[in-house]
Symmetry: C2
């Protein structure tokens, strides 16, 4: 890219490595930083580094946290009797936006995927057992993704946790709100039929 | 945003300040940085700072440059007889993608906008005069934007440069390629009619 001075070309390349950012967006972002004040650029650069330097995992639930316990494990108003198991930290964000869940979380940091060599030992499964044993948990909600890997993980955890005598649940699968039956795939429709409820 | 640890929330806020990045995109970018290696994060942060620290303006044409002369002013294969005047450095990128222009540039860093208090003294107009006087320029292409401000700027420069006896041209205005006459506004259509050429 001989059209740009080297530092600008380098920033464009760096921005392009981010997900969902193509050449045009990267150029727009880079020119924005170029026009912004030195302070603004510094804040952005510092924030990028701080995320790597200041964040670790919660010692209980393995969520992203800047201290030993994450926001949810620290919060005494959250119900310790329910633990929602998710694949990634950002899945928590989605569940929190519903404002309907008041329990705790556990982050697996992945899903079982034998083809990629990801077995239970690569996930935070032992940590889940430890969390359940040391807490007052009565119900475990398996909220892994509705994908082959997520399903396999939920099934594996369901079998593993059976002996603990906990209530084990899986998030409902069916047609999404605002969708049209015409466009629902047959697996989703089959799950929606099988999971039907009386109204 | 109590769902995120502080450094993560701060990075999301910083990303959201960039153009075209909303809450969801900012979250995705921040989680990407979180998963990336410390090295990758450092490269991004350093690139952001370098753009502010290592770039200045070309002493001749005021394009963004890391040295005294920009890429185009240094390049002896570029025709010094033609100077293309643009509003912003990123306009050069657009013109370069055509691969049809082989002359030099001059960046005004804005356009006349009396309502915003931007007069000729806020633009690099004196620098343009200096560039033209010290170079072998024979033609000046006024490639400011086809907006009210860009038109006013082109008109102002045309009057200012008249006494220099240079050939003054303005980029053509008309219907864009791939467009449909049905959707062209009347000003564009009027310009397209007035600027018609024999084929």
């Amino acid at each position: 890219m001989p059209d740009f001075a080297e530092p600008l070309a380098r920033l464009i390349t760096e921005f392009k490595r981010l997900p969902g950012i193509g050449q045009k967006s990267a150029q727009r972002l880079a020119f924005h930083v170029l026009r912004a004040s030195r302070d603004d650029a510094e804040h952005l650069a510092q924030a990028v580094l701080d995320v790597k330097d200041k964040l670790g995992l919660c010692s209980v639930c393995n969520n992203i946290s800047e201290s030993d316990l994450c926001l949810f494990c620290r919060d005494s108003t959250r119900d310790p009797k329910v633990v929602c198991v998710v694949e990634e930290p950002h899945n928590i964000v989605g569940i929190e936006t519903t404002r309907e869940y008041q329990g705790r979380y556990h982050v697996l940091h992945g899903a079982l995927s034998p083809l990629d060599g990801i077995g239970p030992d690569r996930l935070k499964v032992q940590e889940l057992l430890a969390q359940l044993q040391s807490s007052a948990a009565e119900e475990v909600i398996l909220a892994t993704n509705p994908t082959v890997e997520g399903e396999a993980t939920a099934l594996y955890l369901a079998r593993l946790l059976k002996p603990f005598g906990l209530k084990l649940t899986r998030i409902a699968q069916g047609v999404p709100m605002g969708g049209d039956l015409e466009y629902a795939d047959h697996v989703t429709l089959a799950r929606a039929m099988a999971g039907r409820r009386e109204i």
